[in-house]
Symmetry: C2
Subunit: 409 residues, 2 copies
């Protein structure tokens, strides 16, 4: 693996002594200025609420969706296609995994924790958060408080002359709104980093907008909406703002009431909030590994199973309505010629019906309907995104699913 340095496995937060000591020595001090980067994120992603103010997303008092365990020995499954052809257990260590779970037909077949994570730990989901926002939208649409064809400025008049004003809710859902926005996570001058600063994720600069609402209203138009896919984190936050105005509730309350309290979650989730109380819908959700897998399990069943519900079947299937032509030209299309993006899900278009939610630094929920399989991986990779690591993750998940199908595990 390209990530392995001199054959050594990545150090854990405890081995690095991160945030140990009273006070921690400077070299081990995880701060708002470094927590997103490796190696500081080895501690940071399991402690987001200790760095950024956060709201609880309550599971309520309902029953837990029980996940029986039926362990399969997958440690030595060889991941063909992945660089250096590791076994699964090697791959997990090499890719800075914090938690990894394979659910098949609703049973936990494989569950591993690393780097101090436990079944009770919350871990930052980064942009998997977007898929939750897409599903929460379904509840409001079906209740008639929100129209997919409605314009953003109908719900949020302040956005009328921003880049989003004349986009539709559907275009937000499908990331076909067009806006001047640089999503380069490692460029301090990119809009995505200004968004982080407005959200309280990074130290503020004096001329930053005071909160996400002001930031979103400041974004400028680019091209006509609806003509091409533009993956943009601000788009999901605009969607959350629309949900708030349509429902009269804050996004964190809506997410708890419409979704988290209905999926049989075992633990409360948490979501970071900014100075105006805006919950960072595009990337700020933290959840336990099993609860992420539960959400995947419900999505595998088109949103509903055994009285638990993430969203209606018709809204769950809206993910299939994305146009492959819209995503043409990028790395995703190169990997998945029939792939598409809709309702905040990546759909591969493969024969197994595979779709997924994904976040930077190695977060993924990989859902394979034809194999009745959900794979959840939470990680703290040193860098937000690189094509080789992404390809290896996808190859690993596909190899693992192929093994499950062939061996009938």
């Amino acid at each position: 693996m390209s990530l392995r340095v001199g054959g050594r496995r990545p150090a854990t937060a405890a081995e690095l002594g991160l945030m140990e000591g009273a006070p921690p020595p400077p070299a081990q001090h995880v701060t708002l200025a470094n927590w997103l980067e490796g190696p500081f994120n080895r501690w940071g992603f399991q402690h987001a609420s200790e760095l950024v103010p956060s709201a609880a997303v309550s599971r309520g008092d309902g029953p837990v969706l029980e996940l029986p365990t039926a362990p399969a020995d997958l440690d030595r499954v060889v991941l063909d296609g992945v660089a250096e052809t590791p076994t699964l257990s090697e791959f997990l260590v090499d890719t800075y995994t914090d938690g990894f779970l394979v659910l098949r037909e609703g049973a936990i077949r494989y569950e591993r924790y690393f780097n101090g994570m436990t079944p009770r730990s919350l871990h930052l989901l980064h942009s998997i958060s977007k898929s939750f926002c897409g599903m929460a939208t379904g509840s409001l649409v079906e209740r008639g408080v929100l129209e997919v064809d409605g314009r953003v400025s109908t719900y949020v008049p302040e956005l009328w002359d921003s880049g989003f004003g004349d986009a539709t809710v559907g275009q937000l859902l499908d990331m076909t709104a067009s806006v001047a926005f640089n999503e380069d996570y490692e460029d301090p001058d990119a809009e995505v980093q200004m968004q982080d600063r407005a959200a309280g994720w990074r130290p503020r600069r004096s001329d930053d907008p005071p909160h996400a609402y002001a930031f979103l209203a400041s974004l400028r138009p680019r091209d006509a909406h609806g003509r091409a896919f533009q993956y943009c984190s601000a788009t999901t936050d605009v969607l959350a703002w629309v949900l708030e105005r349509a429902s009269g509730r804050r996004y964190q309350a809506l997410l708890a009431e419409e979704l988290w309290s209905r999926i049989g979650a075992e633990h409360d989730a948490a979501i970071t909030v900014d100075a105006a109380g805006f919950a960072f819908a595009n990337g700020g959700l933290s959840a336990s590994l099993r609860d992420l897998a539960r959400f995947g399990h419900l999505m595998l069943h088109d949103g509903e199973i055994d009285g638990f519900r993430a969203v209606s079947p018709s809204w769950a299937r809206r993910r299939l309505e994305g146009e492959p032509a819209l995503v043409a030209g990028g790395e995703f299309a190169a990997a998945y010629p029939r792939g598409s993006y809709s309702t905040q899900w990546w759909c591969t278009g493969d024969d197994l019906g595979t779709f997924y939610g994904v976040g930077i630094y190695g977060q993924c929920v990989w859902i394979v309907p034809a194999a009745s399989t959900v794979i959840a991986k939470l990680s703290s990779l040193p860098r937000p995104l690189d094509p080789e690591t992404t390809r290896d993750h996808h190859r690993a998940f596909r190899a693992l699913v192929a093994f499950l199908l062939e061996s009938e595990v």
Copy 2:
């Protein structure tokens, strides 16, 4: 009641529209600059983690200490001695109560929520937090990692030339360390407000210390230690720092492992943390109302009952070793001539063995061994502290306990 304005009951956070709207209008915006004050604290005390970064204090996976319910109709109990002689239900409304619970012989006899609070809500405990720190200390002392007679500077050499260096751990526990410190909660130039700013509880000033550790080391000596009681919030934070150094663990981990995971808590608690990850031991804990009552119930039984344990019986009884002479001269001594303070508990010296933990803005756990009664009250009073309101609270609790004893409810 002096608090009632023109006969109207206090407005709730929802009635005030606090933090509603996306973004909230300025007049309804709860911020780091106003959340401690009324009316903003009506929202703030149930949402501390949304204003100040916070660590989870895990309940672990152990059993819950079940509290059976045996409702008694106490609404109309008349509280003799309290100004304007209200009934209990009037008193609760008038004193900005968010949650109120009466536990007798381990059963919930009365439980009321106001202002949007629910059994699942966490509420800031303010200085009741100190009593938890006092009990967590017991575990380390009994394990032999900490000596009550040990000097602060033995554990924390950085404090050698501060006001705390030559105080003993026992003097910290009993608030007889002497240090130059103004505990006037409403004076922006008082040390207690600088402590808040260092802890991330208020907007920083440019010359503030970067975190609690630096703040505590900056405090200067006053008189000789051990000669008089000096209620000082910094003293508890120094105690927590000593615990961290003695145990090699952060205070939030220690609190979870030594105490919260053993008391049969129903919910995780949370504690605010500052830029160095220091958990605000003197006032930053948030808990559910029932979990606060559970802690009181264990203390009623000298720390242990039915396999649950807050602390050993001998450490629980250390509260009784305070010298009344040390607290002489203040309002507490005027109310309780046999009263004393020890191990972070206020002991009234009355015939019922009443002792309590208390926090500004109306937080109290009132523990009455001879009546097998625990009263827990969480509130969001408009001002931190005034003698009349304090007296009325004590009169109300005593009147309620007298009613329970007389009526054999």
